[in-house]
């Protein structure tokens, strides 16, 4: 995934209008590009071409249904560890070796390693966390989600 900003000239007003409108919703109908395009003053073909080119430029990370991973049956848990600086690379390798570690970030804090465990069953979370503790000799703090709030996040393109 692209992590650097696009140049100002790489997106025109139409691209920005597409990004702003379609991040909210995309029609669930037989000809969705025709419907969404009409609202933007674009033909079905123009909208398809534009979305394809936005994907190629890295301006879009995903286009389609967004799934609630937990609702699909998986179990997820945010975890944190306080890793001594001189052991950081070694512990990173031990943690990342677990395929259940979906992503892992170094953060500027005493708790300096934050990762998400993704397991098929809830009991898997505890088991992986305990095995990371045994392998590293460090505590793994578990921060399971107790409540998730509706998100109003919008990117102003």
């Amino acid at each position: 995934m692209r992590r650097t900003p696009l140049g100002a000239h790489e997106l025109d007003a139409t691209d920005r209008a597409i990004l702003n409108a379609l991040q909210v919703s995309f029609p669930l109908s037989p000809r969705p590009f025709a419907g969404a395009g009409a609202a933007l003053g674009l033909s079905e073909g123009e909208l398809i071409t534009r979305i394809g080119s936005l994907k190629e430029k890295g301006a879009i990370t995903r286009f389609g249904p967004f799934f609630d991973a937990a609702a699909m049956g998986g179990a997820f848990c945010l975890c944190a560890m306080a890793v001594p600086a001189d052991r950081f690379e070694e512990v990173t390798a031990l943690v990342n070796a677990h395929r259940e570690v979906a992503h892992n970030y170094e953060r500027a804090h005493r708790l300096n390693m934050w990762f998400v465990l993704a397991c098929e069953k809830p009991e898997g979370i505890e088991a992986v966390a305990r095995s990371i503790e045994q392998e590293t000799g460090l505590r793994v703090l578990l921060f399971p989600k107790l409540q998730e709030f509706f998100i109003g996040f919008r990117v102003d393109a």
Binding site: R3, P30, R31, I48, F67, A102
Partner: protein, 162 residues
Amino acid sequence: MTIDATERALIAATQQGLPLTPAPYAEVARQLGLSEDEVIARLATLQARGIIRRIALAPNHYALGMTANGMSVWDVADAQASELGAKVGRLDFVSHCYLRPRALPDWPYNLFAMIHGQTRAEVEEKRLQIAGLLGEACRAHDILYSTRILKKTGLRLASAGD
């Protein structure tokens, strides 16, 4: 919440994205041996059940200049945590907002909100907005900036037997 085999196949076929063709749901239907009507009806049902949150396009916020982000964390009085969490989640610069257990004495914070902005200064300014919104219900707060991505894999539906 359970999903049947057809729903599982539908999720597997669309989790990488919809095809960029005039009739994308018909194309998914063709791949799965279903009718277009059935694919549309089943996606609508998954959405109504909350398994699909939305069908949409996700702008790459890094590509659009939102390169700064921080995990803000808050110690909020339990009695007001749900109500205040809902308010924080609705802010347009917060991409994730959760209540999580504290881990005392190491970690007093129960409300997590990921803040995005163009610059670190903008993230800090938005953090102050949240502090103002929480008011006296917030006893302590902090923000954790990521310094390195150590691993990143997409969350994928595990295949049966995986």
